[in-house]
């Protein structure tokens, strides 16, 4: 059951050890070090620009975990995940702006946390609605229905109807100070960073736990072969819809988190490109691995930022480049997906695994 390589001479004597999160003291120390780095050292050393990039990474991770769950663990290919993120973001925004909160909740700063939860639930339900066709169709046809989810939700319902609520026009602006958690007003990159960190850690650990439970094993069985999964007595439709629900739930969390970083939200924040981007992230990171989601997010965001940094000096020579950067980004993203799919179909997570094995077994790698 254990997925980590244990050092020589360490073995388990009971199931509690075997199922433990941190199987050796060394791993525990590594993880605590990681937490210290994330919570203490990075906020101390990083400037506002660095933090904003990290926030983008966190948002990508939150969005991509849902996609990873659907594609990597349940085998249901989705190309419309941005729709569910959008539902989450809009639900949360509308709740904050329009809902008559009782005064006590406002005073305690609970409006935003509660709205995150509600947004996640709503977006999970919306996701199940568009997951319903998976009861009958799979593979390519399912891809098309999820694409339909994207176009119907974002381009039609949100643009045409939801945006009209309150007569604000196309974009909902969030006045500074509206987003509060407890006594803290989320108004700087640093505070967004902490919110992001907590949400990402909760979601990652939640999904990891879900995957090693009965539910996760059912998903993996469905991914590998849904007919034999059904023969083994797994309620295929129930578990597929559950996967859609959980993916939509985390998507909703991602959307509701991201409004804390934006001054205004509009449908243009959730284009079809973003759905495909999330799928690209998990493909580059590695399908069927939560580590892969994180690696993929970091890799894609950092590469795109580096591309941007590389373009800025060149812009003195070709001013057109700055305008066209978006297009270069698209082309590079496309090419990156193609290259990874052709030459490294297992993604970055596989390389990481190889590296870890090398050092675990070093110097006798046989």
């Amino acid at each position: 059951m254990s997925t980590t390589w244990l050092p020589c001479g360490t073995y388990h004597q009971n199931y509690v050890h075997d199922h433990a999160w941190w199987q050796t003291k060394f791993i525990k120390a590594k993880m605590i070090l990681l937490l210290i780095i994330l919570f203490v050292i990075i906020p101390l050393v990083a400037d506002s620009y660095g933090l904003s990039i990290l926030n983008l990474v966190g948002y990508t991770i939150l969005g991509a975990i849902g996609v990873q769950l659907l594609i990597g663990f349940c085998g249901q290919i989705t190309l419309g995940h941005a729709a569910f993120i959008a539902v989450g973001a809009y639900t949360s925004t509308l709740l904050i702006l329009e809902f008559p909160w009782p005064k006590i909740l406002m005073d305690w700063g609970l409006a935003y946390p509660i709205s995150i939860l509600i947004a996640a639930i709503v977006s999970g339900a919306w996701s199940v609605l568009f997951g319903l066709p998976c009861a009958r169709v799979k593979g390519f046809y399912l891809i098309l229905t999820t694409m339909a989810a994207q176009f119907i939700t974002v381009d039609f319902i949100i643009t045409g109807y939801v945006s009209q609520i309150g007569g604000r026009g196309q974009a909902f602006s969030l006045p500074p100070g509206t987003i509060k958690i407890g006594p803290w007003v989320i108004d700087s990159d640093l505070k967004v960073y902490f919110v992001m960190l907590v949400l990402v850690i909760v979601c990652v650990i939640g999904v990891l736990n879900l995957i090693r439970s009965r539910v996760g094993r059912a998903w993996i069985a469905i991914r590998d072969n849904d007919i034999s999964a059904e023969v083994m007595g797994i309620n295929v439709i129930k578990y597929k819809l559950l996967a859609f629900y959980v993916a939509g739930f985390i998507g909703g969390v991602a959307g509701a988190f991201w409004i804390s970083n934006l001054a205004a939200i509009s449908p243009e924040h959730f284009p079809w490109f973003w759905s495909l981007w999330l799928v690209g992230v998990i493909l580059i990171g590695g399908v069927g691995s939560i580590h892969g989601t994180i690696f993929g997010s970091v890799f894609m965001v950092v590469v795109m930022e580096m591309l941007q940094l590389a373009v800025i000096p060149l812009a003195d020579i070709y001013p057109k480049l700055l305008v066209d950067f978006l297009f270069i980004k698209e082309a590079v993203f496309g090419l990156a997906i193609c290259v990874f799919m052709i030459f490294e179909p297992n993604g970055l997570a596989y390389r990481w695994w190889q590296m870890k094995n090398y050092f675990n077994l070093w110097p006798f790698s046989y």
Partner: protein
């Protein structure tokens, strides 16, 4: 009249959908880059046209470039993916679509361009009670002519028969001396050419910008409607989607403002799939463990 316009536009969709079905039948690749193929073809022929070539010659040149690009795409990207899982292949085509789109935007920009001087006169034609724009009529005629040419190509030429054989049973075709790699390349080349012509015609109707690529995406509902591996299905599906789109634009737009026309085919497709998952004439695959 709405129906007539729908049929005319549907003719173009049918042409692009034919290219899609061809790739799927011959090589099993589910191609999500079809919209970008239409974009490339349209922009290439627009460039030739604005250089002062006559329209037909420009179309011909874009066909040749489509041929070359199709073979190159197949050789560089898709050739290595034969036998890989569906998701891999689909995502490569998604990657290709981004690559193509980014390149097109980089070269030609995002402003709407029109064919100047207009290729077809704006004087409408009266057929009995029905009034049709000349653009629509000629596009339809061109699309139908090309459809007939392609169908004849498959039925009567040696290469077309080889492609049919590969589509039917790859192993048997290989043992009879048909080169599968040639067939794959030919399928992509033909898809590129069909999409290019479709894109050019669409660009003549409304002017040319990135949204033509979105129209190219509408072939997906069309092929799903007809069944993924059926050529007549693609034609019927294309025309149906064209009609449906125009009817929704004409009648539903009043009740649901805000782009019913663009979304209707996808909504229709999602509902249609619930009832008939294999389309009208698609093969039902019986799965065994």
């Amino acid at each position: 009249m709405t129906v007539t316009t729908g049929i005319m536009v549907g003719g173009i969709y049918a042409l692009v959908a034919l290219g899609w079905v061809l790739i799927y039948k011959c090589s099993g690749v589910l191609n999500l880059a079809m919209g970008e193929l239409t974009l490339i073809g349209a922009y290439v022929s627009l460039s030739f046209y604005s250089m002062g070539m006559p329209f037909l010659l420009a179309l011909l040149c874009s066909l040749i470039i489509g041929l070359v690009l199709g073979i190159l795409t197949e050789r560089i990207f898709l050739d290595k993916l034969i036998g890989e899982p569906v998701l891999t292949v689909i995502m490569v085509t998604v990657g290709l679509s981004f690559f193509f789109k980014g390149t097109v935007e980089f070269i030609w920009g995002t402003d709407t361009r029109v064919f100047t001087p207009p290729v077809f006169s704006i004087e409408p034609i009266h057929i009995g009670q029905i009034v049709i724009g000349q653009v629509y009529l000629w596009s339809f005629v061109a699309a139908i002519i090309l459809l007939i040419i392609f169908v004849c190509f498959f039925k009567y030429t040696r290469w077309g028969l080889a492609m049919q054989a590969t589509a039917d049973d790859e192993m048997a075709a290989l043992s009879l001396g048909v080169s599968a790699r040639f067939v794959y390349a030919a399928a992509w080349a033909i898809a590129f050419m069909a999409a290019g012509v479709g894109g050019t015609l669409l660009g003549n109707i409304n002017g040319l910008n990135i949204s033509v690529g979105y129209l190219g995406l509408l072939v997906l509902p069309a092929v799903v409607l007809g069944g993924l591996n059926s050529v007549p299905g693609a034609i019927v599906g294309g025309i149906t989607i064209g009609v449906l789109q125009n009817l929704c634009g004409a009648y539903l737009d009043r009740y649901f403002p805000g782009g019913v026309k663009e979304v209707a085919p996808f909504a229709f497709m999602a509902i249609f799939l619930l009832f008939k998952p294999h389309g009208l004439w698609g093969w039902e695959r019986i799965e065994r463990v």
